[in-house]
């Protein structure tokens, strides 16, 4: 049998064409004894790193190539013979992609001239063009072949004969190639389905686009031998042997320009670090910190990461100098160097740090620095990076968007010809479905027969499609910056957003190849904090920075202990609030724990209660002795952080820090892949050697396993705890300014503006309504009195544009508005904006009640130049004023909130007659007592994790109430449950650990009560 190397093969990164993953392709190539496998995705290297990994795993050499189709019909497969060839191909792909819209490419013959180190396979069309062949032979001298691709067509023998004759005539050697779209014939159905999806049609109607058979797979060498003369097969191996390029030859260099002349990156980094240390510790850094920094700098130098740190420092420096708040998060906060450079804010003198969690020698993987910026100003940072390094050298990382179950079912069902509403139903029924669970029940619920052939076909194809890449998108903020043009390293293409370019590799690809990236992330809370600090400064209430906010303030902790945390970063959710009164945070480190512990993982892993018991003193905690002393003391013996697990391994079982980091990574992945057993034995042996009992070692290991799914670095928690504390302090001491900043930084956090404002009012701060005479676009403070008053901004009006809001501000600054006409004219308001203002009650001061405001506003005409200065005079008419309920409804409709009475208060007496409790009464009801409650439905939430249960949040004039509706109740009261605005629930109050729920038993729709409030008469007497 002849040897064979497949030189023309697509992976799923030829989107909706390639139907098998690189892993499958390489496994098949190995099984068939291929000499090599080329991955030649269409004008793309997006799948090449995965192919590289699969090649490493199987030992089948990878040939890097790409398939190119020109608009004139020329069809080529280009293979990288050498590093120069790879760089040339990166350049070609980048040119083709940058010229076209996202997802497309456009190349011409001129782009393919003078590519050195590139081998070309010409794939002739059905009617081969001699001229094309001659061009290929000329353009790629000694490097061009005619690819003979036979797929059991109508007359392969004749085709082969013709192509060989043509090759002979053109002086091109002929070579066999497979145009493989899948690893095995069994993928034919999926491949047909992908084709139909790509062509936006159904498989039944896609005939012209479908391949006639399943021959485009990695065929066995025996089958190939029956089709091709052996010379053509031998030629594939010869070509494969010429291609010596491997991705391991890529060398990546971080930019050097940040280092001044006469300095090296190492000396400059040390200089900046020492400069930073003098600022951080004016009286000299503690000795431990100095040692830590020396150790870090040595490792950074050893691994050659200095320029990376300098780049991040430069970005952070830019942000600081432009007043943009920023703060590093994640594992970088384990680095004292990062703290000294101002990248992170967690003081190494204040907390134990584990640098190895950030950088380790053994990991052979670049560190990852994530920096949060104010979400409204991150774009400035991104544009700074583009401007500084140029688009050639800086680009965003890609994110591969893959098929999820819902989208897979949707696309497959469409391709199989189901009607639009069936497609909807089916994808909804199967969203979040996993193969472990029988889909039958879900299907029957939506009226599908699970046993029908079509349903079965959809399910099995959707499963094959699951996790297949669908398209490239941009990463939220991961930048790759390089000394050389990036396009010598990886192709660059356009993102969907204008002014954005992305490389064709994602985060995992970068990790595999050891490329460094810096994540510039957006964080709403930073925007809020900056706005709050600005407000305080403007109103003379203090000039703070995040660093100068007084720390360890008892009043702030007292507030937190009462779960009074609406708006506070990270600890404002329902679950967090319920835990605050029991954890009773009293110092900064308590916040670090609070943020890490109140998360789904630790709660499900039952970490919370042991910790609580020990903290409350009801369970004794004996600090550990021996080498593990101190590791778990700060969390009372419960391993909460990734760093602690690493330290357990280091101190307890003699792991090196790098090995401990591998253990951490193993933990994160074992549920999916397994592979913890080697660690298990080593841990046990190590603990034993250090004198710990076997059962203790087993317990630690079990904890590590249980811990796996929610690993949280302490450094990350600490970074977030800093922001949580800052926001809590501001909420405690400057509630009005803090609420205003929250409103002005929307959308962020857990609560809607309505809840933020209500919370503020409950704390005794006065709130003034939106009024064009006083309101800015943003919420503002009236700080004349000692107790500031919040003035709602025009931004609260749904549908109002910022431009219009700013025009009103500016026109009013010149001169107060005389009347509605004056306002509309000087602020250049169009009919829609005028109506919005009237509806929102913002014209109260100028025009009177809403009915009058609407009449006035509707009568404003665009003044023609001729009549300028002659306002139309109109006699006033009498209109009945709106009722209080009318006003409240209008408030809700236009701003989602109201300063007036709560709508439920209008029907309270009728609710009381029906024996309905209010939310505050419900909160005083005893555990287990049956009550009836009615409130406005704020949201219905069906978490993917909790099957069969819906959480409902209801609200009345006294507060909110959370109810749980189980599936059988939801089904029995299906319509009431889905349709009610004012929902009444009969149920039982349950309280666990301070969390209160109303468990629904039956429901009733009281919405008609609200409709009767609608004053618009419909009766004809």
């Amino acid at each position: 049998m002849s040897g064979y190397a497949e030189l023309h093969c697509l992976s799923p990164f030829s989107f909706l064409r390639g139907a098998s993953t690189a892993r499958e392709l390489f496994a098949r190539a190995k099984a068939q004894g291929y000499a090599a496998l080329a991955i030649t995705d269409e004008c793309s290297f997006a799948g090449i790193v995965r192919a590289h990994e699969a090649s490493r795993e199987t030992g089948v050499p990878l040939i890097v190539g790409t398939e190119i189709r020109l608009p004139d019909g020329l069809h080529l497969v280009l293979l990288a013979e050498s590093l120069a060839g790879y760089q040339a191909l990166c350049g070609v792909i980048t040119r083709g992609r940058r010229r076209a819209d996202k997802g497309a490419y456009r190349l011409a013959r001129a782009d393919l001239a003078n590519l050195s180190g590139v081998l070309a396979l010409w794939v002739p069309q059905a009617q081969p063009s001699r001229a094309d062949g001659a061009w290929v032979a000329r353009n790629f001298p000694q490097c061009a072949w005619l690819a003979v691709e036979l797929h059991r067509g109508s007359d392969d023998a004749t085709r082969l004969h013709e192509l060989l004759a043509l090759a002979d005539e053109l002086g091109l050697p002929a070579v066999a190639a497979g145009d493989a779209h899948m690893h095995a014939r069994s993928r034919r159905r999926l491949q047909d389905t992908l084709t139909a999806i790509r062509q936006r049609t159904t498989v039944a109607q896609a005939g012209a686009y479908l391949f006639p058979n399943g021959e485009r797979h990695l065929r066995s060498r025996r089958a190939l031998g029956a089709i091709y003369p052996h010379e053509l097969l031998d030629e594939t191996v010869r070509i494969a042997q010429r291609c010596r390029f491997s991705l391991t030859q890529l060398s990546y260099v971080y930019p050097h320009e940040l280092v001044p002349n006469g300095q090296t990156p190492a000396t400059w980094l040390r200089h900046l670090t020492e400069q930073g240390m003098r600022q951080r510790w004016p009286d000299g850094a503690p000795a431990a910190v100095v040692t830590q920094i020396d150790k870090e700098l040595a490792l950074i130098a050893e691994l050659g990461y200095e320029s990376y740190f300098l780049t991040v420092e430069d970005i952070v420096h830019f942000a600081r100098s432009h007043g943009i708040l920023c703060q590093g998060r994640g594992s970088a906060a384990n680095s004292a160097v990062c703290f000294a450079l101002g990248i992170t804010e967690v003081d190494p003198a204040r907390m134990a740090m584990l640098f190895e969690r950030f950088i380790s020698r053994e990991r052979n993987e670049p560190p990852d620095i994530d920096v949060d910026f104010e979400h409204e100003r991150r774009e400035e940072v991104i544009q700074y990076i583009y401007a500084k390094y140029g688009r050639e050298r800086a680009a965003l990382t890609a994110t591969v968007i893959c098929y999820r179950m819902k989208s897979a079912v949707r696309d497959v069902a469409k391709a199989l010809g189901l009607s639009t509403d069936q497609v909807d139903q089916l994808s909804r029924a199967l969203a979040g479905w996993s193969r472990n669970e029988s889909p039958d029940e879900r299907l029957r619920e939506r009226g599908f027969d699970p046993d029908s052939p079509i349903t079965r076909r959809v399910l099995s194809l959707a499963h094959e499609l699951l996790d297949m890449p669908r398209h490239l998108s941009q990463h939220v903020g991961g930048f790759v910056i390089s000394e050389q043009p990036l396009s010598q390293l990886v192709p660059v293409e356009n993102a969907a957003m204008p002014d954005r370019t992305i490389i064709q590799w994602d985060k995992d690809d970068l990790d595999t190849l050891g490329l460094l990236k810096v994540d510039c992330l957006a964080l709403g809370m930073l925007t809020c904090l900056r706005k709050c600090l600005d407000l305080l400064k403007r109103h003379g209430r203090g000039d703070y920075t995040l660093a100068t906010i007084p720390d360890e303030d008892p009043q702030t902790y007292a507030m937190l202990q009462c779960a009074d945390t609406v708006g506070v970063f990270q600890i404002e959710s329902r679950a967090q609030m319920s835990m605050l009164p029991r954890l009773k945070p009293a110092c900064f480190y308590d916040l670090v724990i609070q943020i890490a512990i109140v998360r789904p993982g630790p709660i499900q892993g039952d970490m919370v209660h042991p910790y609580l018991r020990r903290r409350q003193g009801s369970e004794a905690y004996a600090p550990m002795a021996g080498p593990l002393r101190g590791v778990l003391d700060r969390t009372l013996g419960i391993p909460l952080f990734q760093e602690q697990v690493m330290q357990l391994a280091i101190h307890g079982a003699d792991f090196t820090p790098g090995e401990a980091d591998q253990l951490r990574r193993g933990m994160a992945a074992w549920k999916r892949r397994g592979g913890l057993e080697p660690f298990h034995e080593r841990l046990l042996a190590g603990f034993e050697k250090n004198g710990y009992a076997l059962d203790f070692a087993e317990r630690v290991f079990e904890q590590i396993k249980g811990f796996a799914s929610y690993g949280f670095p302490e450094s990350h928690s600490a970074s977030f705890a800093l922001l949580a504390y800052a926001s809590a302090w501001l909420k405690c001491h400057e509630p009005a300014a803090f609420a205003a900043a929250l409103l002005n930084a929307q959308p962020l956090g857990f609560y809607a503006p309505s809840q933020i404002v209500q919370d503020l009012q409950r704390h005794g701060t006065k709130v003034h309504p939106i009024d064009v005479r006083f309101s800015d676009w943003d919420a503002t403070l009236d700080a004349a009195q000692s107790q500031p008053i919040l003035r709602l901004g025009l931004r609260e009006i749904h549908g109002m544009g910022e431009n219009a809001g700013r025009r009103i501000e500016q026109a009013r600054a010149l001169q107060p508005f005389r009347d509605v006409e004056d306002l509309c004219e000087r602020a250049e308001l169009d009919a829609r904006e005028r109506k919005l203002l009237a509806d929102a009650g913002a014209l109260q001061g100028l025009a009177g009640h809403r009915h009058r405001a609407r009449w006035k506003v509707a009568g404003v005409e665009r003044t023609l130049p001729l009549f300028e200065g002659n306002p139309t005079t109109e006699s006033d008419i009498v209109l009945r004023p709106p009722t209080a309920a009318d006003d409240v409804w209008s408030d809700y409709a236009t701003t989602g909130q109201s300063l007036g009475p709560h709508p439920v208060s209008f029907v309270r007496s009728r609710l009381r007659a029906k024996r309905c409790k209010s939310a505050s009464e419900a909160s005083r009801a005893e555990h287990g007592s049956p009550i009836r409650y009615a409130g406005l439905v704020l949201m219905r939430q069906q978490p993917a994790t909790a099957s069969g249960v819906t959480f409902v949040t209801l609200e009345d004039e006294t507060g909110t109430l959370n109810a749980i509706v189980w599936r059988d109740v939801a089904r029995r009261y299906w319509r009431v449950f889905r349709e009610s605005r004012l929902l009444a629930i009969d149920g039982v109050i349950e309280r666990h650990d301070g969390v209160q729920h109303l468990i629904a038993r039956s429901m009733r729709d009281y919405s008609p009560m609200l409709e009767q409030l609608d004053a618009r008469s419909r009766d004809f007497r």
Binding site: R188, R189, A206, A208, E215, R854, R975
Partner: protein
């Protein structure tokens, strides 16, 4: 003048119900673009289950999985409205459609004939109930006012104090343009009287000229010209014989006349028809009717007569013919065939559509079809007679004669000329083909197209077609 208004609040659904579905079934009419299909109206049973108009189809299905959905069909609704207008024309010479859901008729002149209004109204309601049409009726001196009253109070009749009654009408039910009403309602105005009292200039500035014009028409302040109904044009003619005809030969003369009259009428109207209905009347039994069709609108008498004669040749009549009638409805515009100035027209030559028409006339509608290519790799699925789904696909040579189904090839040692051509396709509808096709020369020199299962190297051949 006295105007009766008949509102048809559920016309589209009535049209569906009349087509014979179970009126108690939960039915919803569905309309809208394919991505956002929503309920337009629904039956009472469906409404009880929570189905509402405006609901998305998915939401409706979720509420009631066994909901029967019917696509909204404007033509069906229009046809029912046309029928109702024609029916109303039987009661009054002045009938108009004021809105898609409202028709008005002047009844003042008909009261002598049909009794006092109460009796007249009962009669109208009885007719509408027989027709299966949901309705509301009111009487007023002005047509638009009558519509408004029918809307707010079914059965309301006013002759004298109409203005006072109008003033009491709730604003939202006054059938004035929606945007104006919404605006006025948002100013706290509730009844029509409050609008009437507003300063006219201020009202015009806010609600627009059209709105005020509609208000004035409603109140009778300005004339309200109505689009009065005219019965549709159609051609109908009949000839009755003095003596019964027993042979078809004798029918030729009267037929020629009728067709001639029709074509004259068509010429006068500058139109053509594509279908004619012929009725042969018998003394003792129901008439025999046949429909003649032309592929394109036609007004050439010779053409129509040719079509008629062909059809008559195949016709057997149950009884002697006492007369013949011709009806032509739906007169579409006539499109004359383009002809060269000097084209004398070959007398015997039929062009393609004419040939098709003749064949259809002789063999019956639907008996003449055209084979077209279909884009499918499976040979048995590679053709269609439905022009709307036809498209071409690039394949190798295919035999002209494809057998209806493959049969075993009885030949000891056929010679392989080409192949295998592998076809693996069609899995999506359970009729998957996985075959290797070969072009064979049989021992007697025929060229056959035969296959084996994909991948099979030997075994029996299955013959699927002949090249020659």
């Amino acid at each position: 003048m006295q105007w009766a208004a008949i509102l048809l609040p559920d016309l589209a659904l009535d049209a569906v119900r009349r087509s014979g579905v179970d009126p108690h079934a939960p039915i919803a009419l569905i309309a809208g673009p394919p991505q956002r299909r929503s309920v337009q109206s629904c039956t009472a049973t469906a409404a009880q289950a929570g189905i509402r108009s405006g609901q998305s189809l998915a939401a409706a299905r979720a509420l009631l999985p066994k909901l029967i959905t019917v696509d909204y069909d404007a033509q069906r609704t229009d046809a029912l409205r046309d029928l109702l207008v024609a029916w109303a024309y039987g009661y009054s010479g002045e009938v108009a459609v004021l809105a898609p859901d409202a028709l008005v008729l002047e009844v003042g002149g008909s009261l002598n004939l049909f009794g006092p209004w109460s009796a007249f109204e009962r009669r109208l309601r009885a007719d509408l109930a027989d027709l299966g049409v949901t309705h509301r009726i009111a009487l007023a001196p002005l047509p638009r006012a009558a519509c408004v009253f029918a809307h707010v109070a079914d059965g309301f009749a006013v002759t004298g104090a109409m203005q006072a009654a109008l003033r009491r009408v709730p604003l939202v039910q006054s059938r004035l343009p929606e945007d104006g009403l919404a605006l006025l309602a948002s100013m706290g105005l509730r009844r029509l009287g409050e609008i009437i009292d507003l300063p006219r200039a201020g009202l015009t500035r806010r609600c627009g000229v059209t709105f005020v014009e509609r208000l004035d028409r409603l109140l009778g302040h300005v004339p309200d010209p109505l689009p009065l109904y005219r019965p549709p044009d159609r051609f109908e003619a009949k000839i009755e014989f003095e003596a019964e005809l027993r042979s078809l030969e004798g029918l030729q003369f009267p037929l020629k006349r009728l067709i001639g009259d029709l074509c004259l009428f068509l010429f006068a109207r500058d139109g053509g028809v594509d279908a004619i209905e012929l009725a042969f009347l018998h003394d003792d039994c129901a008439p025999t009717t046949i429909v003649l069709r032309s592929p394109a609108p036609e007004r050439d008498a010779a053409q129509w007569f040719g079509i008629a004669r062909l059809r008559l040749e195949r016709l057997t009549l149950p009884a002697p013919v006492a007369g013949v009638g011709l009806v032509a409805r739906e007169l579409p515009p006539f499109v004359p065939l383009a002809r060269g100035l000097f084209d004398a027209g070959a007398a015997a030559a039929l062009d393609w559509p004419q040939l098709v028409a003749r064949l259809q006339a002789r063999l019956g509608d639907g008996a003449v079809k055209t084979y077209l290519p279909a884009a499918d790799h499976r040979p048995e699925a590679a053709f269609t007679t439905d022009a709307s789904v036809s498209s071409r696909i690039l394949t190798g040579p295919r035999p002209l004669w494809l057998l209806p189904r493959p049969i075993p090839l009885r030949d000891r040692a056929p010679h392989i000329l080409a192949g295998p051509e592998r076809i693996e396709s069609g899995w999506w509808n359970g009729r998957e083909a996985c075959r290797d096709y070969y072009v064979l020369e049989t021992s007697v020199g025929q060229r056959a197209w035969a296959f084996r299962p994909a991948g099979a190297i030997d075994g029996p051949w299955l013959l699927h077609g002949w090249f020659a």
